[in-house]
Amino acid sequence: MTERKAQAALVIGGGVAGMQAALDIANQGFKVYLVERTPSIGGRMAQIDKTFPTLDCSACILTPKLSEVSHHKHINLLTYSEVGSVTGKSGDFHVRIRRKARFVKEDLCSGCGDCAAECPTEVPNEFDMNIGFRKAIYIGFPQATPNVYTVDKENCINCGRCVKACQRNAIDMEMTDRTLDIHVGAIIIATGFELFDVSQYPRLGYGHYPNVIHAMEFERLINAAGPTHGHLVRLSDGRKPHSIGFVQCVGARDVQKGVPYCSRVCCMYSIKNAVMALEHYPDAEVSVYYADIRAFGKGFEEFYEMAKKRFGVRFVRGRVAEVMEGKNTGNLVVKVEDTESSTIRLVEHDMVVISPGIIPPEGMDTLATKMGIAKSDDGYVQIAHSFFGPTLTKVPGVFVCGCADGPKDIPDSVSAGSSAAMKATIILSKGGA
């Protein structure tokens, strides 16, 4: 038994898909290394305020999963870490992990926050889409897992106040990056997605007009743990918006921008956000400008009907041509052709929310090269078979789930995570190869 093949798996990406895959493998008794690039697991789902079509609080259903992952005896959680090199073959991969220095000892930090209270440096918080602020020693959000602080050395001024404040001597400013070599039988890629950069559509005003925001910024603004404590306000003057327009299909279904595909989630998250806007301000007027509504999932069509009938969200069929700003009011005028009545309409809103499509994450090219896996034309991981291999890559022993192989909503990401876990454990249960 000394020649045993690896009885462990590597999951790359700690979002909801990667977490599900890790839990399903670990619950079968195999060891899992869960590698996450950022300081905390949780991924995009942690940033979202509510889920569709049930309007569950996203954090409320995610947080138990976060702690389950972090406390699981078979899961070795490696946050703030990246995959270096990968060699070997199915059942017998050798992977080098680079553990970036977080300058805080994970085993000593209790997450009390004494350090952040002392830190004099404030920078925009990435977790809040840079609307709110965090310190240079930080956790991105209250439920960050592991609950361990990280020093952002780019912004740290090396004043040493946090080191003095820490009663557990957990902060080590001399920490350096370390490498960890692991031996695994299967690898699951769950690297997720990125939002399309909507400033590539200058005509829609994002980046020029403060009251044009995108959907993830909206999520943070309506979130009780967000930068405004859940008060939905305009970024120009802090006033409540009375009229909100949602602009659909931005950075999706647009060949000219290299994103010919449908992002699958934008219709539903915008209907959800439109409903949430009315939950916050029942007197508001909310319009959604859409190309066509794709409410294909379980309960989605009913949710769409509810948004129209019970909440009174106005749906206007037409892709927005331009968003203009009133120079004194900060209000916005949306120019759109209503294709149901063939009229050009100019509609004034005091807030416009752009719904970005989703694209493969930064670093996907490098990762694909390291793994030797193929990518499809749109930049996502190519799957081995459209029907019978939705989580299989072209390399044996390497699997994919979540948005790494294409846009997915939360339920589909979780299904794919479980599916990839099953494929991985088939290899592991054969004793490796």
């Binding site: 200058p202 020029h208 331009e322 203009m324 700003e325 120079k327 005028v333």
Partner: protein, 288 residues
């Protein structure tokens, strides 16, 4: 003194000669001398371009080759011309087959395109060759806060990766010069939209609608004048204020950037051709 070959194009000398005159004298004042290009031809913009790309490349290629024979970079004063020359230069520099074909045609009159000259629009000369500090230093009669709206023109700033003049969505050069000269640049809705000029030949009704929309947006910001950097824009934004659809509100003077800058540099109206402007800008150009 820096020297450039002046390529006026077709429209400027015929329909807006004051622009050419004003450019020459204003640049001279700021230390840039312009040498006229002899025996030039049309750049081929839009009209020839839409029929044959090769013919278009040959026409603009000839201008580039003439400038090469004069050993100077080109100043193209018209938005369309500067756009054409830059796009064709880009094509000839990246497409060896097209370059060979154009050079075959040019060989008949002993010209050759090798890619040694640069093409600049007027805004680049102000920004890159003269610089804001030098312009500021040359101001002798600053304006007294008159509110002016800048209009850049599509072909001046687009496509940005080729023409490299200014940010096409938030251009600043004209606005900065307005400010340096003591006037107030006024931002307005749809600033970087098309003036509608190119539509004139096909559908005057649509062209006027686009142009008047622009005038309306400028008027609602209480601008007292419009400063342009393209012949076509200047002509279009002037002509839409006349005719049946124009309405009865007072007309807003349209003037070219050098005509605006000239008086602040102490150049008199006659030399800038101010009296040739269809809507007199004299009231707003009264410097203190």
């Amino acid at each position: 003194m820096k020297e450039f070959v002046l390529y006026t194009g077709c429209t400027t000398p015929v329909r807006l000669p004051a622009y050419e005159a004003a450019i020459t004298i204003v640049l001279e004042k700021l230390g840039v001398r312009l040498i006229p290009m002899k025996d030039a031809n049309c750049c081929g913009a839009q009209y020839v371009e839409s029929v044959s790309h090769t013919a278009f490349a040959a026409m603009s290629g000839r201008i580039l080759a003439i400038a090469e024979s004069m050993d100077r970079d080109i100043l193209a004063v018209c938005g369309a011309c500067s756009g054409s020359l830059k796009i064709v230069k880009h094509d000839l520099d990246h497409n060896p087959d097209l370059r060979a074909e154009v050079n075959d045609l040019l060989a008949e009159e002993g010209l050759k395109y090798t890619g040694t000259v640069e093409v600049k629009h007027l805004l680049q000369i102000f920004n890159e060759d003269i610089g804001y500090d030098a312009i500021k230093a040359a101001i002798v009669k600053p304006y007294n806060g008159v509110r002016l709206a800048a209009h850049y023109g599509c072909h001046v700033t687009r496509p940005p990766e080729i023409v490299q003049v200014d940010n096409p969505e938030t251009p600043v050069i004209i606005d900065k010069i307005i400010e340096i000269a003591g006037a107030t640049p006024v931002d307005y809705t749809g600033k970087t939209r098309c003036c509608g000029g190119p539509m004139l030949a096909m559908d005057q009704e649509v062209a006027n609608k686009i142009g008047l929309d622009k005038i309306k947006n400028i008027r609602s910001e209480r601008a007292q004048g419009i400063v342009t950097a393209c012949v076509f824009c200047d002509i279009q934004l002037t002509q839409v204020q006349f005719g049946d659809t124009a309405g009865s509100e007072p007309k807003i003077p349209v003037l070219t950037l050098p005509q605006f800058l000239g008086p602040a540099l102490g150049i008199n109206f006659d030399k800038l051709g101010i009296q040739l402007n269809k809507i007199s800008p004299e009231a707003i150009l009264q410097v203190t």
